[in-house]
């Protein structure tokens, strides 16, 4: 009797074990809904061929928001100065093309990302020892210093008038830029796909898991031996590099850059976008950017005042009722529907 009891228990135990293991092993597999955003992006080219300049800027904003999600959504670092790295990438590419004659676009993007990433390591090493208001102010101050510094040397940076009329080589030596922004759209989409692939891998890796741990309970992370500061600086640098690449693409697709890329408004905007879509979800960046920029495009032209009021109201409502953003709202709806379907 006892033997068969223990046998049943071990079989049940085995089942629980393998179920648990499978869950973790399978978690990073691609699921079919993940193809949706990409299909939509491709589809937009054919449905809205005359809105492709807007489309490129939207894709660039998604990349920027993704970089923020890494540090805000996954590692829990609150920053209002991420535009610093976007701007660094943007200006690296611009200045490289003017001063160094570096007009090859793809390597330019990597160069912009590398510069931003290196600065991210240095800055992060210093400021990530702090949290809360101190860290917030340091991030704001750093971006502002870059902007003011750029203005002091406006002979070099073009100041707030910027550096217009930049030119870049055709993509892969072959694809020319056209007036409708078609080449730029595919360029931005390809870049976003590559970046997303990398970010997704990081997020599902043990390192990504450790970031979540740092966000959820940093005290515990210290006590299990996690090199918290090193982890944070690493992810901050990666995030800075990606923001820099977004900035580089921005300069290339606009053939123009000004110091407004460092604006506090820009840092605040990308945060609002990410919160709107949902942090820590990767696809929140997609949804938030799409919803925000489409509405901004339509409404802010009609009345900038109403647009601003609407955004303010949205933020207030989001914090009070929808802390997990649109994706979170979607989750709740899905759960309620599933609950209703169960007998």
């Amino acid at each position: 009797m006892a033997a068969s009891e223990s046998m049943t228990r071990s079989v049940a135990g085995e089942a629980a074990r393998s179920r648990a293991a499978e869950f973790l092993l399978r978690r990073h597999y691609l699921r079919w809904p993940e193809a949706l955003p990409w299909l939509i992006a491709v589809g937009c080219f054919f449905v809205f061929p005359d809105r492709m300049t807007f489309g490129s800027q939207l894709l660039i904003m998604i990349m920027f928001a993704l970089s923020l999600d890494l540090i805000l959504g996954y590692a829990g670092i609150v920053t209002l100065g991420h535009a610093a790295f976007f701007g660094l990438g943007a200006y690296t590419v611009a200045l490289a093309s003017i001063k160094l004659g570096w007009t090859e676009p793809i390597s330019g993007v990597f160069f912009g990302g590398a510069v931003a990433g290196l600065v991210g390591i240095v800055v992060g090493w210093f400021i990530l020892r702090y949290r809360g208001l101190t860290l917030l102010m340091l991030t704001i101050a750093f971006a502002a210093m870059l902007q003011e510094g750029g203005n002091i040397r406006s002979d070099f940076t073009g100041g707030y008038d910027g550096l217009p009329g930049l030119t870049f080589d055709p993509l892969l030596g072959h694809f020319q830029y056209d007036l409708y922004g078609h080449t730029n759209y595919w360029y931005a989409l390809a870049a976003l796909a590559v970046v997303f692939f990398v970010v997704r891998r990081i997020v599902y890796s043990p390192f990504g898991q450790a970031l979540t741990g740092i966000r959820e309970n940093v005290r515990r992370m210290h006590s299990i031996g996690s090199p918290v500061h090193r982890r944070l600086v690493t992810v901050y640098a990666i995030s800075a590099a990606i923001a820099g690449m977004a900035g580089a693409l921005f300069t290339q697709t606009n053939a123009y850059v000004t110091l407004t890329v460092f604006d506090f408004d820009a840092s605040a905007k990308v945060m609002v976008i990410l919160i709107l879509g949902g942090t820590g979800r990767l696809y929140g960046a997609f949804l938030g950017a799409a919803v925000y920029m489409i509405f901004e495009d339509k409404l802010s032209k009609m009345s900038p005042t109403f647009w601003q009021f609407g955004i303010g109201l949205l933020l207030v409502l989001a914090v009070m009722f929808a802390r997990r953003g649109l994706l979170g709202v979607g989750d709740t709806i899905r759960r309620k529907l599933a609950g209703r379907r169960a007998p």
């Binding site: 805000l72 609150v78 209002l80 210093f126 400021i127 020892r129 702090y130 809360g132 208001l133 101190t134 917030l136 102010m137 340091l138 704001i140 101050a141 750093f142 502002a144 210093m145 003011e148 510094g149 203005n151 002091i152 406006s154 506090f264 605040a268 945060m271 609002v272 919160i275 005042t305 109403f306 601003q308 009021f309 955004i311 303010g312 109201l313 949205l314 933020l315 207030v316 989001a318 914090v319 009070m320 802390r323």
Partner: protein, 290 residues
């Protein structure tokens, strides 16, 4: 008087006036953040609203500037109470990020509302004749308006210092800032204390906003434009510290004025530089608690 000495005195004087403005507007933010750990980014909006109340009172109702300042401060102080009671109260336990987002949202709504009613063009206020022109102190003449601001600031510093250090209520506030739980267990009603400090702080912000009209011009965007500056004063001064806010206001006010005099193209660069240097050395600010 030598040219260099003249410049130094100008910088000190203007810097002191600027510092007084920063102090008056930021002290409320510092105490409320230190007391409740609540990040209130709508504080700048209270200052902005105060400014517009002064504008309306003086231009539409013909009230004199100084009484208008007082009325605006008291009004905003009263209006802030329902905000705190009905809205902010629910978020004391929320994360920093949520507080940031909610209060920024409120600030945006305020800016949009006031742009709708007042328009985006900077407003000015009619000043009484004794605030226009200069005061002549013998060796030099000083603009009366700024001199007035400095005097008001000094008076407020004294009054606040006295209230903080010498009164019962001040002691209770200091205790609650220092250790909230302990203060509550000793019977201090921290919630009511907070509503009081919040109201006073918002009223002072409105006063600062009223003064700002003539110094910087008033547009609805004032609410966020100067918010970063207020946050800098609060962060570098140390949350919940009167001394800290005053010191930070003086440092930033004078160095920023000096910087702009000597390197006009640098804009706010020196302010941000000070912020970074101070925070890296003393992350909790001059007089903040670690």
């Amino acid at each position: 008087m030598s040219h260099a000495a003249n410049i130094v005195i100008s910088i000190l004087f203007d810097g002191l006036a600027y510092a007084m403005f920063l102090f008056i507007t930021s002290v409320g933010l510092s105490v409320t953040m230190g007391l409740m750990n609540f990040v209130n980014l709508a504080h700048g909006a209270f200052a902005m609203v105060g400014g517009y109340i002064v504008v309306s009172l003086t231009r539409s109702l013909g009230i004199d500037f100084v009484p208008a300042l007082v009325i605006a401060a008291v009004l905003v102080g009263f209006i802030s109470v329902p905000f705190e009671r009905l809205l902010y109260r629910h978020l004391y336990k929320a994360t920093d990020l949520e507080q940031v987002l909610l209060t920024i949202g409120l600030a945006f709504m305020a800016i949009a509302t006031f742009t709708y009613f007042y328009g985006p063009i900077p407003k000015s206020v009619p000043l009484p004749h004794w605030l226009e022109g200069d005061i002549n102190l013998g060796f030099r003449a000083f603009p009366s308006y700024r001199a007035f601001l400095i005097i008001v600031g000094a008076v407020l510093v004294t009054v606040l210092w006295y209230a903080f250090e010498r009164t019962n209520i001040g002691a209770r506030i200091r205790a609650a800032v220092d250790n909230r739980r302990m203060a509550e267990s000793v019977g201090i009603n921290v919630d009511r204390l907070f509503t009081l400090t919040f109201a006073v702080g918002s009223g002072l912000a409105a006063l600062g906003g009223g003064f700002a009209i003539q110094l910087f011009g008033l547009t609805p965007y004032f609410a966020v434009l100067y918010l970063v500056l207020f946050l800098i004063v609060v962060a570098t001064g140390g949350l919940g510290s009167l001394k800290g806010t005053l010191l930070a206001a003086l440092v930033i006010g004078i160095i920023d004025t000096g910087g702009k005099y000597m390197f006009p193209q640098a804009g706010n660069f020196f302010v941000y530089l000070i912020t970074v240097v101070v925070l890296l050395i003393k992350p909790a600010g001059f007089y903040g608690r670690e």
